[in-house]
């Protein structure tokens, strides 16, 4: 069981942060990939809101393919936390919420020296996020 990578987007589609731990396949130029990822998520949200038979509260949660699972968490302010893991991982909404509230809000939003609306430069945020993800029960240092 493992975590492949993590994206953090703001409400305008700006990629605030990207980290990877186990990744076998690159999807081309990183900047293009962020836009593609954001665009796909935007379209999935729109798709799901039309398709849903009942009124939704949390909306789109996750999808999986034959090789990976993408977990999604969005805050009311439009911050999107996206984590790709392998298929053995169950619902991790609380993990993504923790990344938002205890890491992003505490270390970036509440930091007067961190400008919002652009890629996070804070080394503290990057290293705390890395330690947190590595400490997760479903993260194993060896992929697979």
């Amino acid at each position: 069981m493992t975590v492949h990578n993590l994206y953090l987007f703001d409400r305008n589609g700006v990629c605030l942060h990207y980290s990877e731990w186990h990744r076998k396949k690159q999807a081309g130029i990183p900047k293009e990939e962020y836009k593609l990822m954001y665009g796909m998520l935007f379209s999935i949200r729109s798709f799901v809101s039309k398709m849903s038979p009942l009124d939704m509260k949390d909306g789109f949660l996750a999808f999986q393919t034959s090789r990976y699972k993408l977990h999604y968490y969005e805050t009311p302010t439009g911050i999107k936390v996206v984590m790709n893991t392998d298929l053995g991982v169950g619902p991790i909404r609380d993990v993504l919420h923790h990344i938002y509230s205890a890491l992003y809000v505490e270390l970036v939003v509440k930091n007067p020296l961190c400008p919002l609306g652009q890629t996070v430069q804070s080394e503290l945020f990057r290293s705390r996020l890395d330690s947190y993800v590595r400490s997760l029960p479903f993260f194993s240092a060896r992929a697979g």
Partner: protein
């Protein structure tokens, strides 16, 4: 377990079959007096609630019926404009039924094509080699399962490719289809 609907999409992204099997629809019918506390707006040929959600009427719900008679998009059953009808105090008190809008055939076609693209992008953005497209998508109200058959792949015929290349080479040498002809 309830299956809500089935969609069959061909390899070009077009919807070729659709079935609605079970649709739990959250609907609310209430009697209102003038003026209406809800803000209604016209969107995609439907009258939707834009603001003022209360009781079980949510933003995004459509006007489904007025005084028990189903509306026809933006028009009432007898052909009047819904927004105009509801703007006239003489028509009150009025009973309006609100609910999630049902998908038109056109919208179903568009959603099927949309999913077709999303399925492909899901495979493209994979951090692992050899991923398929989206096989399962989960929300808090429904799960979507997708199965891709083998006949999606274009049929490859080697003999056709070889003979075509030969034919082109022959034609080029004979000067019939070369540049400058």
């Amino acid at each position: 377990m309830a299956i809500f609907s089935v969609y069959v999409v061909n390899k070009a992204g077009g919807l070729i079959y659709q079935l609605d099997s079970y649709a739990p629809r959250a609907e609310a019918e209430k009697t209102f007096s003038y003026p209406l506390d809800l803000l209604l707006k016209l969107h995609d040929e439907r009258v939707l609630v834009a603001f003022g959600q209360r009781y079980s009427i949510r933003v995004g719900h459509a006007v489904l019926a007025i005084n028990g008679m189903d509306v026809n998009g933006r028009y009432t059953a007898d052909g009047k404009e819904v927004l105009e009808y509801l703007g006239n105090p003489a028509n009150y008190p009025v009973s309006i039924r609100f609910g999630r809008p049902r998908l038109t055939s056109n919208e179903k076609l568009m959603l099927a094509s949309m999913f077709h693209s999303l399925f492909a992008i899901g495979s493209q953005l994979s951090p692992e080699q050899g991923s398929s497209g989206i096989e399962m998508l989960e929300t808090d109200t429904f799960k979507l399962h997708c199965y891709q058959t083998l006949t999606e792949m274009p049929i490859r015929c080697e003999l056709f490719d070889q003979n075509l290349k030969l034919a082109l080479e022959v034609a080029e040498k004979a000067g019939t289809f070369g540049p400058g002809s």
